[in-house]
Subunit: 351 residues, 4 copies
């Protein structure tokens, strides 16, 4: 019963098979290989436009490179105060940009509130010539609280950003889960909704370790080759990243896996919601559940060996919803999570 993260699970069989299939023989190093070329073409097909692809080993790397590509050292990246890029990467974006400011925005469920974004933009612009120049807006899809922006919500936010001259980034660490949830195309969720670049996540969804920064704006970003290498992010045997992602995108594997994880999460959330000792902090929209448990329910789960993380509850919104004797927790489902462990957990719920 391990719901700590989608990162704790392993690798889907087709991904591993693809690694084995390219195990032998020689091909170009540092991305100059055949599989990497194939993958870039494949991404262009998937996204219905010419995409520039920068393979990296981690999602943090993809986010940080995106920030560096679009925000100068003296610029500002606007993002949710509880997004990964703001709160969980130990300052990677600050590092890769050379000291940009990350400005936190508020909004329930990790969804940036457009009104608040507008106010903060206004404040920054009032101090032009003194404040770090507004440069990039980053949103996370699905959010850190498992919510999924609608296409309209994305367009509203990117519209605000664009009208102030900002570029736009989507942190898609759980992009497949969001797509499977929203039922739209990759193009619709990204560039058609005003997104310039995407951190295309895969590791959380059954891949061993392969992520990509995808540039969707059609512009040249010649600095990215340099930034990736000097970040220590260019793997010499890059073909083994490409092999993973080619298998991931083949035969709808990525969306099938994400759909499965989402469905398991839905079942888990629905089951928890039926307990008298549990309620959901937000609806389950992708593969994460945020639940408020009574202390007793928490003890029972933990006592039976369930693994999940308590979540910080001091945010202005959440402080008010978690009462004494309760705890806010996060449970995450991966495509590798066995359905049995979900049933096992639900069997422990207090009616």
């Amino acid at each position: 019963m391990n719901f700590a993260s989608d990162n704790v699970w392993g690798v889907a069989a087709p991904i591993m098979a693809a690694l084995e299939a390219t195990r032998l023989g020689a091909d170009g190093a540092y991305g100059g290989d055949d599989l990497t070329s194939q993958l870039e073409a494949r991404f262009s097909a998937v996204f219905e436009r010419d995409v520039s692809m920068y393979l990296v080993p981690t999602g943090t790397a993809a986010n940080a490179l995106a920030a560096a590509a679009y925000c100068p050292p003296y610029g500002t990246v606007f993002c949710h105060g509880e997004s990964h890029i703001y709160s969980d990467e130990w300052g990677a974006a600050e590092f890769y940009t050379g000291g940009a400011k990350l400005e936190s925005l508020a909004g329930d469920g990790g969804l940036v509130d457009p009104g608040r974004f507008e106010e903060v933009l206004d404040y920054f612009q009032s101090g032009a010539g003194h404040r770090s120049t507004p440069a990039l807006f980053s949103l996370t899809q699905a959010t850190e609280f498992g919510q999924v922006y609608s296409l309209d919500q994305i367009s509203t936010l990117t519209g605000l950003a664009k009208s102030s001259g900002l570029a736009t980034h989507m942190d898609g660490a759980r992009f497949a889960n969001a797509l499977a949830s929203a039922g739209c195309s990759p193009a619709e969720m990204t560039w058609k909704a005003g997104i310039d670049c995407l951190s295309f996540g895969a590791t959380k969804n059954g891949v061993m370790g392969a992520e990509a920064l995808l540039i969707l704006d059609g512009k040249a970003h010649d600095d990215l080759e340099a930034r990736r290498m000097r970040g220590g992010l260019l793997m010499s045997k890059s073909r083994f990243l490409s092999a993973q992602l080619l298998a991931y995108l083949a035969d709808n594997l990525w969306l099938d896996m994400a759909g499965k994880a989402n469905e398991c999460a839905r079942v888990l959330g629905a089951g928890l919601a039926q307990s008298s000792q549990t309620r959901l902090a937000w609806p389950v929209a992708a593969n994460e559940i945020f639940a408020i448990l009574s202390d007793e329910q928490d003890r029972i789960f933990k006592g039976a060996g369930a693994i999940y993380h308590p979540w910080h509850a001091s945010g202005p919104d959440r402080a008010s919803i978690v009462k004494d004797g309760e705890i806010l927790v996060r449970m995450v489902v991966s495509p590798e999570t066995p359905m049995e462990s979900i049933h096992e957990l639900l069997a422990l719920t207090i009616k």
Copy 2:
């Protein structure tokens, strides 16, 4: 009638005389001169303890060096969201630290709210190992809204910081104004209240251009010599900064000038408050006035040639106090501001 800033005015006569007095002859370059040694000793006397002094040409430089001395690249500086270090230095602290995070705190009148500080600290500590490590707390005395922390308020905040292992910095761009207002000693306002280092401002108070980062914690900060030089901040003829500050500290000049500016500001504020078309956003505690004018009053002032800045009014607190047909403005008084211009402005107020 120029109330745009205390920076727009010139230089007090004794300061200029001190420059003339050291004009000729040779002495050590890069701070190896006699006046610089004298000044460091003088600061130690003024602060009643051994002080390490780093002369710099600007207050931004002092703040940024303080941040770099106490906060690693992967650390966090906590400060008010409308402090100079956060909002008015184009990311200087982010630059000098090598990419630290500046985390904004809220609080009325530019005064950090201790409860909010505690909540944010708690949030950061809950993500240890992912979030930029809490390292430094910086407060501004007097604040960007002309408010002056009491010694108790300072001690409460530094106590919170210290109990979480943070170092503490005071941005004293208007330190003399705060001192003159509070009527306490430099030692009481700083290290006796838990402050580790101080950006000692002087330029806003009748000096040509000379500031100092003062280290009050008795610890060695060997990196500061290097950081100052590689910032381009070490003036080769440093004796001309020292001469300014020695004159500034002599014969109580600094506190006399600050007291004079504060008194003029008090007169200006009191006069404005008597107008039916004006109210003060915050009480006048140092040399700055934040006033909410009717549009008509604003037109009259401007029409007569008065110079001051509109101030941003979208913060959560201020948005509610500025109504349609009104404007929030800032007026600043320096020791060089002629009292006549104050009377001239007040004569224009609508009864």
Copy 3:
């Protein structure tokens, strides 16, 4: 006949088998897993002392983290002018240190000349207070020209470094090849010879993509966790790096593979040296051959499909040894290189 690099080849069977073996199930993310703990213990056994291990995806990352751990932003890293850290990582060390200076040293065959090192150290120390502070010495074993330092040579250089207060780093991208060549123990080649930290390379020697920075000096480097994460270098499913390296270190696999590559390189070098149209620029000591070919020989090789890189020949030493009508080339042998391709190439040599 691909001799372009050891990076162009694939993955040894036991490495891939180890990945498959940990494919399923859940374990801690971000290095909190069982295999990672085992690996750190294994490294301590291999190096005969307590080792702190920082897994990273690339050798550039290991080098850059080492630089950041031991050299402040205002410091200097001394290294060979044609070392990887100086010339082939697009400024990674400059980036991770926050702007340190890399100072190039000379020496034949990529081996730092101790006399030159001493002169340059002397020059830097003569400018203390102005020059980037000497902080770290980095040497590469085996060197970029396939040479292997003797233990005495290492000790001489680390002795010079230590007597000036510098820390010492070994770039061991081809550490196994050097060990197999020198026939000494890992401990003897590193900390017993004065090395504080090691970039432990494996990818060039039959691993898919896994490297480690090993701290051998017994000191705490608490900043490294932060620097690795903010570099985007901490893989969430780290157990798949650990699995590779555990298999690599098991059953002497690493040294067997390196020994095999070295032996193939020796055969290749010896064969080339017998041609009247070819001579070796340096003796073959590990798995790289630097050969000066006649243009005709080069044409014949290339015509038959051989792949290798021309090497830059403008260095002071090499300019004199490469004549008109000749070309300096590098050929690299990996444990996956088939011996047949070596014989195939040698069959093309002009007698």
Copy 4:
């Protein structure tokens, strides 16, 4: 008898008078004042083209901003290994660029050797995609060894730089001395000879503390405002820098002072050269003398209270010219140096 540096002396009377003249009254802060506008226009007249001016307090700041304006974090600045930007600014250029590489070039007398420059450029270009991208060439006029490039020499070097796509910078810390020595116009020495930007020094030539980065290439560099402010380099009362430089440029003061210093240096050099115990390491071309003294002569000078710096003598060229029992020293003459102290020193020379 203080010949330690031109920085140890004071301020010319007209400079101080200009400060006094603008002492009172209000004008725009942060460079929005009248004198600053006048100065920019004045520079455009002096340089016979539209110049963008960035006032800064130090020459290190001007050099570092120039580097940041023209060289990305992943780029390379080529400069003499004993230039100020390379060896005397504690890594300021590395800091402001965000981690660029400074690559040292050789050449006698601090003059970059064009052949060596070409070789190094060639080496960097051979590693494109791995090496920090060539971006900027910086030369120092007059050099750190008091030599003055001819216009032809400058054009040769900038021609090499331009043909490789590099921008060009002149460190003119002693620009007036070079001009007075060469007898050409500011335009001829800079943009007409291929120079894109100039660190215009004045402090070493009788000014209190005011330098300017002058952009001569006619291109927009919008980042420079931001970089200057976040460097802590924008003085709030900038008019006091402008006042100094306006007086400096008025009535030929700058060239008169530089000419006087040069002439004094010539006299000093010629006198020293007549001693049997002294010879000049390089001819005296500006205001610096590099002399090789016998130990006895050195003792006599020092015993009589003369102040000057020993200079490092381990460079390949200089090691051979300084014998046992000798010492290489630097003596610098400023326009404020009294001619009497020169005669006093010369009276101590051993015939």
